[in-house]
Symmetry: D2
Subunit: 346 residues, 4 copies
């Protein structure tokens, strides 16, 4: 039994971790922290957990975590993670960090896009970008995983086969991404209230969203060259889900069927990636509630442009599920463990 | 042209007043206050008003309001109204107050249910309960209208013919009411966030909601006796709308058709009350966007119980529309003026 | 390993059975029928099942089912079940029927409320009403379970302790129930389209809904007397969930705390019933995604009336989850098996 | 008073015409047809119209329309319009057609994208593309308007200043469009049911949607060259609204402020086009319920790419409102007549 700690357990990524781990046969939650609710039963804060989870929220306590846990998930806000992760790492336990703080190879890129100094730059060399489909072996050999977020996982996996094979004009990439509301976290801001969010939608942080740099890092690594691309996030009246529509100029001479086959070949060993057959396109209801990424694509011969649709559940494959998948890699379990469920559909 | 002021213009009732008045051919908004946004263009706070409304939010200024306006709508939080209304009233302008502060005949009832002293009890004797269908003549002769809220308008109008005719057991009344989210105002509280509100519902303030006392006051007046009843509010994932399902033991020997006809007769001069034919029941999409109240009913002969469904748009007939209807009464206009629009349906 | 068949696998109750059974460690789906999609892969009809479920929809084939399955779930429309269940029963396999056809003790009641003859009345004497919390021992000894639906499970469990103890006036019961849209099945009717359903709500079949008779049967059994009650269903813009607000005149002298304690005592051995502490009321987000029923209550001393809120996921505890719970009883498994998951919350 | 006919009055575009015209001070509806509901009161089919609209649905009757109306709106399905419009046109009344049948200059383009012959090609030479902001003068001089749809109005107006000035690489245009559900019409298809549509989204008809050709026609005319572009429609859980995110490679050396100013100048006489200031981006809640198009933009200097967000209410500026605007042009009224309302916001 893997002994697990969750820091930031009452945020939406944290509580999804608790929900998934409460059904996991090889993991046991030993410690859950919450700054806001310390001292309160977790099942009082989230009453869906009544009869299932019997844990009390605690203050963060590195020593206690180190003693009682084999691995800790840090589901803290960006910036807060890099304050606490070094101590956890020093204490010798494995850390899977869900913030942006340990996802970057290049400190300067982090600092430019996050507008703050990185207080633990040495750890950036130790940390591994926790996208199992691209970095499985490195993850297996690290103690610090920078777990990717929802927009980035969705975008990178949608683009990876094209980038790796350099079948597209690398200057032509556009990612138009649509997100559900839980992606913004458990927030009380007016812009996330029901009355201001239902039956409307908007784009936000156009041309300036931080996740752009993370997608560029990974697509650049795959392509073997520096890559710059457009990334436009939208807020849509959904509770869960990320849907990315990706465009690029195709340089290879391929039709839809050939490209679908190439994607299937690229992901042939990846249980959690489902490439749709020619003519089928993904919908959020296929993936929400699961750890799957569904990808469909179409080559528009008229324009020689490829359109890829990629989607996932932002709280699962885009956060907590991927973190659990990374835990399986760190501990040598089958990656399906605890994640072998279909989407809700309804 | 009636010169109008709106205090609390950036709350949801206030902004719906602005929206309705911006299309009103006999009214002109001279003054709009907002504590939060004073100094800002109203059309910057609510960008739907761009090109339509050219007003700047001001601080409350009684003297200025009194000089520039013939009537003022006070769409302030409960408690705040009774601080400001006396000065406006003294200044000699007509006041239509959308809070609960001037809806009560009996100061003691107000103080019991609101848990606070009433600082202007003398005005309770001057104010008239602004439900035109029941108090039209009194409204025409007052300068201070206590404009009823959404739950109460919906419940009282659904029950009025039964109460007036004493066709029911007055101890048997139950109002099960369902509300959209805008009824809670423009709030940032977590319980109104999209992620916590969509795809869920709940009852709240069971047996303790303030509006109980307001419904009891008016139904008691109609019945000529003290009335106590059950009122249960629910929060449902809707932006607009109140839907009340009302139950009572029928003492009269009537079937559905007879009772429908009695309701039609009771409301025969009321443009804004639409009593459905036997076999038809109201839906929110018929009334949302309009000043109508739709009422349907069914006599359950098996149990000798009547079930009434009553619904309205909480922001219009439940707030701003009713206030404009009251303005028409105060100034001798046709009550349809500015309110002669069908529901959105979509 | 229990070998399972699902007839009507592509309706919403059927597909929820498939989803739950696909994660069940002691059951294996051997047979799935679908009239509409016979010959098609189940994972082509519901693409959320890709990589998880590898089954092809078949035509109903009693012989094949009897040979390959230990138990069969019939998730067919009302009326269709009673055509096929007798043959399955004769063939000697256990049957859990999700329609209304085998829920009645009294053939005449069924025929009166369903407006059709019952073609297999002899089986009504063999079948057991599949509400484990009330009929566990009988279920364990039958081969034919009439699995209760969503409205009835929610209403009966909310009322059971009061009825059993006769703490209420049995003529005063009112159940005001709100349902999500999936309760109507996988239908293409206009009244269930998104444009006609979102941001609106309605009551339907007021005083005439079939489930009234089913609730009356069970509450009557508990109370030891004939019971007639009001049941009003509403359609609310939710995908999942039933929320029942129940009213009755209290004849016992109890306050909220005492009644809460009595409910907790009544359900003390029931894992899936969660009685909320005084002051807490259930919300759908606590139960949706789980097999739990959450119950909260309040004694309104002013009126001597009790208000009970009871809610559950219509597709799980109101259909597929309850059916799996019944399967566990039939085969001697722990009832939590395959159902030990918390609600989604998000 | 303009005498108006509406053919196809019970579809969503038709009923929105009825709703808008019912509040129009210079128009009177003389005739409303509905194939499905002929003989029924319009206010029985759409009960939101009770007390407001007193019309009975009729069968299409060209002679009667010609005699009783000055102008007729044909809100019929694509294909049906071209069967009936010629007779109406011959009869000498003005026709505003809301289908795709009379929007094309080039019969071959229509036939290629619609997969059917055009039975009235001569009329394509008479008809004018009814986008007032681009073709006001031609509209004033025609008797047959091909009223543009929602996707196209939103996309074309978002791109027009760039195309007209040739500030972009014409091969680089991508329109990623998101639509509410009412855009699909009043349909009973499963893919539009609430349970299958809420909390999910998808792309559809990728690279093959008919409206592509209509956008290409108009952008080509503005640019003075043939244009081919990517258009990807998505279905999003909204009742109303189109939101287009448009991408193009900028060839001009302009920053966001300069381009915003150029858009403002281009549309300076257009009441219904609201160009947002630098730093502000449109949201659907600003435009839904109104005839406005809101446009915001951002020049991404890092990539030399422009991102434009354009949105409108698909039933108003994308259908019925635009048709009424065209009617004003045909009859010399101020275009704001009947359309001078702000968005609902809530």
């Amino acid at each position: 039994m893997i002994r697990v700690g969750v820091l930031g357990a009452t945020g939406y990524a944290g509580i999804e971790l608790i929900r998934i781990l409460s059904m996991h046969k090889n993991a046991k939650i030993m410690f859950a922290s919450s700054q806001t609710y310390a001292g309160k039963k977790l099942a009082e804060v989230y009453k869906n957990l009544q009869n299932i989870v019997d844990l009390t929220c605690e203050e963060v306590d590195v020593e206690k975590v180190a003693k009682s846990c084999d691995v800790v998930f840090t589901a803290l806000p960006h910036g807060a993670s890099k304050q606490i992760v070094p101590a956890l790492y020093e204490a010798g336990i494995k850390v899977i960090d869900l913030s942006g703080d340990f996802r970057y190879k290049d400190q300067a890129v982090y600092e430019a896009w996050y507008g703050q100094e990185h207080s633990a730059p040495a750890l950036l060399k130790k940390s591994v970008y926790g996208l199992p489909e691209l970095h499985r072996d490195e993850i297996a050999n690290t103690s610090l995983v920078g777990n990717p977020g929802c927009y980035t996982t969705c975008s990178i996996l949608g683009l990876a086969p094209l980038a790796k094979n350099q079948w597209i004009d690398m200057d032509s990439i556009i990612v138009d991404a649509k997100s559900g509301v839980s992606g913004g976290g458990r927030t009380t801001s007016l812009g996330f209230s029901y009355a201001e969010t239902d039956e409307t939608m908007k784009a936000y942080k156009v041309a300036t969203h931080r996740h752009t740099s993370e997608i560029e890092q990974e697509i650049g690594l795959l392509a073997g060259q520096e890559v710059k691309l457009s990334f436009t996030p939208h807020l849509v009246p959904l509770k869960r889900g990320i849907f990315a529509t990706i465009y690029a100029k195709l340089t290879a001479d391929m039709d839809t069927k050939e490209l679908v086959n190439a994607y299937k070949a690229f992901y042939k060993n990846e249980f959690f990636i489902r490439v749709h057959d020619e003519g089928s396109m993904p919908e959020l209801k296929y993936v929400n509630g699961s750890n799957f990424v569904d990808i469909g694509l179409c080559v528009d011969k008229r324009l020689n442009r490829v359109v890829i649709c990629s989607c996932l559940d932002n709280l699962i494959k885009g956060a907590a599920g991927q973190a659990v998948q990374n835990m399986s890699i760190l501990f040598g379990l089958d990656e399906k463990t605890g994640l072998n469920m279909p989407g809700f559909y309804l």
